[in-house]
Amino acid sequence: MTDHESLRFTLLDQQLVDADDRPVGRVDDVLLELPDDGGPPKVVAVLTGAQALGERMGGLTGDVMASVASRMRSGEHRGEPVAIPASLIGDHADLVKLTVALDDLPQAAGLERWLAHHLVEGLPGAGDARD
């Protein structure tokens, strides 16, 4: 019986949900770090969003995707992919469930938040949906 599992099938491309089971995005890439003691690499963050996916895909399509996505982010993280610390990952059996709510991840789901604020909230009946 093994105590290890495939990163490709249990983490990469899996749906990310927050502590309330709300979709956050997908795991588009993984950030690894080599510890100072020379041990095996550690997963320090999962990356989500078009920039992370584009950088992972590579090629012309991936480069364009990553380039456009990086320019759409604002603030101090402009140009960086959206990173969610691995310490916030809870269970990842079927979904990658985080231990925090989406509201505690201001760097995630940026496009969805923008669309919700600038587009959906202005639609008739949008207030009922929030309730």
Binding site: S6, R8, F9, A86
Partner: protein, 96 residues
């Protein structure tokens, strides 16, 4: 020895004692790219039978390399302690 097609990860306490560290336990090495991508290299997929037949040989060639056998984690090349002739088959290591 071949190319790395997948990482095998495990959850254990990290050096700070926190229980949520995800570490690389080993690597899935060798075998065909498609055998790994489609899941045949670790029995995640069993069909269609034609794809299973096409990838069977590559899936049998895939090996599991434990992290403690690795002496150098380079960005292009990963160096291991021995020639890898005694590495177990990935199919024998993973759970079906």
């Amino acid at each position: 020895m071949g190319r790395v097609h997948d990482l095998r990860i495990t959850r254990r306490p990290d050096q700070d004692g926190r229980p949520r560290g995800l570490f690389v336990a080993g690597l899935a090495v060798g075998g065909g790219r498609l055998a790994h991508a489609w899941g045949f290299a670790e029995r995640r997929a069993t069909g269609p039978w034609l794809l299973r037949m096409m990838t069977a040989r590559a899936a049998r060639a895939a090996r599991y390399l434990p992290a403690d056998r690795i002496v150098g984690w380079g960005p292009e090349v990963i160096r291991v302690r021995s020639d890898g002739a005694d590495l177990p088959r990935l199919l024998d290591v993973v759970e079906p």
